[in-house]
């Protein structure tokens, strides 16, 4: 299994655990006093689950198992894959911090965190699609 795949899949597992932990907190009755920002973390829960877990797991498996391009460069530009991984994860973590913060304290002016988060996640995914596209092909038969 390539190193990048290991990072994608292990991160995905961590996000799954984090998503379920958050789901647990969100399921607590409102009589239990949680910090206010937790109550605004429903969208964060969905995105930890669907971006952090599902999409990253898929990315890891695609990078590992889709048909290779050539023997010389089987999985395309690996550095691009790392940039994608970093952008996606930094972007998602910024969302985890920024979204409840903006909801609870809109006057503080942290909205730019969400803009940066959106941009990083978008770049991370576009780069991965660019990397994966040539590997959506029939089996490599040499040459």
């Amino acid at each position: 299994m390539p190193t990048l795949t290991r990072w994608f899949i292990k991160s995905a597992l961590v996000y799954l655990a984090a998503a379920l932990l958050l789901a647990l907190l969100l399921a607590l009755p409102s009589s239990i006093n949680l910090p206010l920002f937790v109550r605004f973390m429903n969208p964060v829960y969905f995105h930890l689950f669907l971006v952090g877990w599902v999409t990253q797991m898929i990315f890891g498996v695609i990078y590992w198992m889709f048909p290779i391009i050539t023997r010389a460069q089987p999985r395309g530009n690996e550095q691009l894959g790392w940039v994608s991984f970093i952008c996606l994860n930094v972007g998602l973590l910024l969302r985890v911090i920024g979204e409840p913060l903006v909801a609870v304290r809109p006057e503080v002016g942290w909205g730019w965190v969400l803009v940066v988060s959106a941009l990083l996640q978008w770049v991370g995914i576009v780069l991965f699609v660019f990397l994966a596209w040539p590997r959506v092909k029939e089996k490599y038969r040499g040459g």
């Binding site: 979204e99 903006v102 909205g111 969400l114 803009v115 959106a118 089996k139």
Partner: protein, 136 residues
């Protein structure tokens, strides 16, 4: 990877790009509001990513990787999987039309119905391929 999987997986990747673009705009707008009408695109964001990306990618990979038969055709009832691909994509756009473009509740209903048809056709294709190594 068989030709039909190429089409299905490429379509899934295109939906991923569309869905994440809408999602990124929504998130940025949440941070620094610039176009309130964007919220009308939330159902499209969800539909494109759940059905267009995740479900479609799963079907494409399943068509490729589920056990094949020893005799030809190696992937039986391939036409069912082709029909599923067409129905799924028609269904997705009907749902987007019915929600984001407010084409009417019946458009949304038909969209969901067509998506259900896609799943049934794919199941009809794949059912016989979900077997052990001995074919049991």
């Amino acid at each position: 990877m068989p030709r039909l999987s190429l089409w299905i997986i490429r379509a899934a990747l295109v939906y991923l790009l569309l869905g994440i673009t809408i999602g990124s705009l929504l998130l940025a707008h949440k941070g620094i509001p610039f176009y309130p009408l964007l919220w009308g695109w939330l159902p499209a964001h969800i539909e494109l990513l759940l059905m267009g990306w995740i479900v479609q990618l799963t079907l494409g990979v399943a068509f490729w990787i589920l056990p094949r038969y020893w005799q030809r055709p190696r992937r039986p009832s391939e036409q069912y999987a082709r029909i599923a691909f067409v129905l799924l994509n028609v269904g997705i756009w009907l749902v987007v039309a019915g929600t984001t473009f407010r084409a009417g509740v019946w458009v949304l209903f038909v969209g969901r119905l067509v998506e259900m048809g896609a799943v049934l056709f794919f199941a009809a294709h794949a059912w016989g391929r979900v077997v052990s190594r001995e074919g049991a």
